[in-house]
């Protein structure tokens, strides 16, 4: 028998609270060790760790690369694995390798094998693959079963097929299937952040509303505390509510800080849509147990008739080169928009091909729109990106643009020796591939059990038990 079955057979909700330890909101950026060790000393029933998100943008989903540095991913994985295996409790990791696409799930699975080999550990692993075939999405679009979340341009069938990866977010029902294989460790591809922490409590019979609300708060570890942080967070869940406690003694979960967290990265603070239904938080109550812990109750869950599937997809737009320079001439700053237009026209005539310049003028509205009166008059930072089908063309356009902008004559110019201040040479840099989101949609009527493939693996020397 492995860790999952031991917990599922050994714990009854009436016996006492379920202790859930959230180790990391972003595995791979360095789990603070002291707080994590304090959490383990509290004998949690399982450990959960989120490893990804759509937040870092389309590059990671599109490219299949991990956002976190591999050396830190290895460090954090070793830390949580050692703790879970020593304690004999399940470890649940969601959104493998940032975006949870197949190459990222494979990279993290390979790391788990390597760590097990190095450390001489053996355990049973369940993986959940989250990739959605493009044909299923095209079919859903044609049948009107695809709805954008927020303002997304309507993708064509070709746009969908051009996605290098499309993933679906698996929910608690998929984790439940993975737990049937009796793993010690679950590694999911793209997963709902909440499902990592709510699946086991739901399987044990805790109310789904409480389990999901708890999960929603602790998946960010101590971010819901004052002062906020990245330290491990412990939740103690019972049939009436749950208690939140940061494992950093200086980071306090207060009713206000926890309630405020309901607003975080959430368009509607009272409703949270999950694959299996909606979580209602309007009646949630937050009470201080002392100055360090808060008790939460009152969330309600209403299941929907058919689970929905949230999908994400990104496609390559081209290669990107970036030109970085400063501008400090007051006359040029005033006419910069028209100068950039004129130089773009000049360079178009010189460099044929499908390249696109995208200006970011820091100090003049690069971060948010600025009225003319608030634009920089002393100096501005120029970051021009060039996107082209290949890196050579992007870099060529950037280099030619650089020289033409450097010497462009504009009305009223006094600085005839040059228009740009370069902080380094070369001023133009290769900047990876450019990707864009094509899909951020809800797909109705998706065949969830076909899409989310659960596989059991024996990791390390010992033969896998069970099955």
């Amino acid at each position: 028998m492995n860790a999952a079955r031991r917990l599922l057979q050994g714990h009854r909700p009436g016996d006492g609270p379920l202790r859930v330890l959230s180790a990391s909101g972003q595995l791979g950026y360095g789990i603070p060790e002291a707080a994590f060790a304090r959490g383990m000393a509290r004998k949690p029933h399982f450990i959960g760790a989120d490893m990804g998100s759509i937040d870092p943008g389309p590059y990671y989903l599109g490219s299949g690369e991990m956002a976190a540095p591999e050396a830190m991913v290895r460090r954090d994985l070793t830390l949580v694995l050692r703790a879970a295996l020593d304690a004999g409790i399940p470890l649940v990791i969601g959104s493998a390798g940032t975006a949870g696409a197949r190459p990222q799930l494979e990279s993290v699975t390979a790391l788990l094998h390597e760590i097990a080999r190095e450390q001489g550990w053996s355990f049973r692993l369940a993986t959940i693959a989250s990739d959605v075939p493009a044909d299923l999405v095209v079919q859903a679009r044609q049948q009107g079963r695809l709805a954008a979340i927020g303002p997304m341009p309507e993708p064509s069938d070709d746009d969908i097929r051009a996605c290098s990866h499309i993933v679906g977010q698996c929910g608690t029902e998929t984790f439940a299937r993975a737990f049937e294989t009796d793993p010690d460790v679950i590694l999911a591809g793209r997963a709902c952040d909440t499902a990592i922490f709510a699946a086991l409590p739901e399987l044990l019979g805790y109310p789904a509303g409480l389990a999901l609300h708890m999960a929603k708060i602790i998946e960010c570890t101590s971010l819901c505390c004052r002062p906020g942080g990245r330290d491990a967070m412990l939740a103690e869940l019972d049939l009436k509510g749950f208690t939140l406690e940061s494992m950093n003694p200086d980071s306090h979960a207060t009713p206000a800080s926890v309630a405020a967290h309901a607003l975080y990265e959430q368009a509607d603070p009272f409703l949270v849509d999950e694959p299996g239904g909606t979580l209602y938080l309007a009646d949630a109550r937050y009470e201080a147990l002392d100055n360090h812990r808060t008790r939460v109750s009152g969330a309600r869950f209403e299941p929907r008739a058919q689970p929905t599937l949230k999908i994400e997809g990104a496609r390559r737009l081209g290669a990107r080169a970036v030109l970085i320079a400063g501008i400090a001439d007051p006359t040029l700053l005033q006419v910069l928009d028209s100068v950039l237009e004129a130089v773009t026209a000049k360079v178009r005539a010189l460099v044929p091909g499908d390249w696109q310049p995208v200006p970011h003028v820091y100090g003049c509205g690069a971060v948010r729109p600025l009225p003319a009166a608030q634009r920089a008059t002393h100096e501005a930072g120029l970051v021009l990106e060039f996107i082209a089908p290949d890196a050579l063309l992007a870099r060529t356009a950037a280099a030619v643009y650089k020289q033409n902008l450097l010497h462009h004559g504009y009305p009223g110019r006094v600085s005839t020796a040059g228009n740009l201040a370069f902080p380094f040479t070369p001023g133009e840099l290769d900047a990876n591939e450019a990707y864009g989101f094509v899909l951020y949609h809800v797909m109705a009527g998706a065949p969830l059990t076909d899409i989310f493939r659960v596989e059991a693996h024996a990791v390390g020397g010992r033969a896998a038990e069970g099955n």
Partner: protein, 106 residues
């Protein structure tokens, strides 16, 4: 009702933050210093959904406003002009879009 001198929002609030809510939406949270500051803000025409839509140059009606009196907080959610990370987007996380709110007169 007595006439009050207008006060900038930043003087009445201790947290004014912006963040993506998924790559297509932006959300702004304002936590006011106390109940009086919250009441003043919640009752002000300058923080009506339409006024905030105008401030952020999105379609009238595109801004959702949520009042959270227990937290002394007001939240606004609106569509992003560009999906996060699209070339031309200058704020991947949407974390620096709170500026215009700071100067609103209440």
């Amino acid at each position: 009702m007595t006439q009050r001198d207008p006060v900038r929002l930043r003087e009445l609030a201790h947290i004014v933050r912006s963040k993506n809510a998924g790559p297509t939406m932006l959300t702004l949270d304002v936590f006011f210093n106390d109940a009086a500051a919250y009441e003043r803000a919640a009752g002000s025409a300058a923080l009506a959904s339409g006024a905030v839509a105008a401030l952020y140059e999105v379609a009238p009606g595109a801004v959702q406003r949520y009042l959270l009196p227990q937290l002394h907080a007001i939240k606004f959610s609106m569509p992003r002009k560009l999906c996060a990370g699209t070339p031309g987007d200058g704020d991947l996380y949407g974390a620096q879009q709170h500026g215009p709110l700071l100067e609103v007169l209440l």
